[in-house]
Amino acid sequence: MKTLENKLIQLLSDLYGKREFLENIDYSANLIEEIPELDSMGIVSLITALEENFDIEFDDEDIIIEHFENLGTLLALVNNKKAH
């Protein structure tokens, strides 16, 4: 069974390519710097994909750069949303 982390990496890879980078990613690698497509529109695409794939809903307050900075913060955000 795929872990949430695996699913998240798969989703990021489907959206932005960068497969090699994402497969070897560590939790603190800066996603915003490594993935140029992760701009304002890219973040909204990611939010939409996360909502559809993980059956969660984001609030406006969730849209802060800190949440999308690295895999660790993104995982924490998704876990937090799934818990509520």
């Binding site: 489907d14 304002s40 973040i43």
Partner: protein, 257 residues
């Protein structure tokens, strides 16, 4: 193409003369930055279709691309009139088969314009259509919120709505969008009944990791008249790889393959 507001730029991809079967495809573009991001993919699809014998028409709606006017002056109903005019003046009765490819918000425009008319259109191909205008405007607002977050500023959709009421327009991804335009978009939707019509085909390119296990070796899946394709959301990214599969899929759709 002259319109009541000014000239609209129309690009035609002409097929090689050996093709005697006069078929055409009219592209209806997506909205604002999504249109900009989609140009590379659209051009690749259009070139391929022209190579396969289709005349392909692309229009820059009033206030966009190489057409006259400013984006902030753009009006939903004027855009529909631009499309109708292109259809009537340049396409209707001139081709044995007329097809339409509409991407994202273009699909909503197409349905609003021709949804209740019985036109002799062979196929409607909706590429990742916006089904609910309200969902789309929410995404636009989120894009603005994300852009402000990059600047270290926080805001909510309520804040943006208040500003919108006060100023009558909002800047999103470099485009000045009027409240009238947003209200129009928000009021539109595509019905399930229309999506179930036999000549309407939807291509859904959302990367749903779970669904991909169901994809066949062609990397696509057909459920009723909906094709699910693995492809990045090219309309939301300035740099992406051209999806050869999507190009071939559009060709196959219009060729009835």
């Amino acid at each position: 193409m002259p319109t009541k507001n000014g000239k609209c730029f129309v690009l035609e991809y002409i097929p090689a003369p050996e093709f005697s079967n006069k078929q055409s495809v009219l592209f209806i573009p997506p909205f604002a930055e999504e249109n900009n991001n989609s140009r590379k993919m659209h051009s690749a699809i259009a070139r391929n279709l022209a190579n396969e014998g289709f005349s392909v028409f692309m229009i820059d709606l009033f206030g966009t691309g190489d057409s006259e006017g400013q984006f902030v002056e753009a009006d939903w109903d004027d855009w529909l009139e631009n499309i109708r005019q292109l259809f009537k003046n340049y396409l209707d009765n001139k081709f044995t088969k007329l097809n339409i490819l509409a991407t994202r918000l273009g699909a909503l425009m197409l349905v609003d314009l021709f949804g209740n008319e019985s036109l002799d259109i062979d196929k409607w191909l909706l590429l990742q259509p916006v089904l609910k205008g309200k969902t789309f405007t929410k995404q636009l607002m989120r894009t603005k919120i994300a852009a402000m977050a990059f600047k270290g500023e926080k805001c909510t959709q309520n804040d943006l709505q208040k500003n919108l009421v006060h100023q009558g327009l909002i800047e999103i991804s470099g485009y000045q969008i009027s409240q009238t335009m947003l209200d129009k978009i928000e009021s539109k939707s595509i019905s399930d009944t229309l999506l179930d019509s036999k000549n309407v085909i939807t291509i859904d390119t959302k990367p749903k990791a779970e669904d991909l296990t169901l994809l066949d070796k062609q990397n696509s899946m057909l459920i009723n008249n909906k094709l699910i394709v693995q492809s990045p959301p090219f309309w939301s990214m300035p740099e992406y790889k051209i999806s050869e599969h999507l190009i071939k899929l559009t060709e196959a759709t219009f060729n009835n393959a």
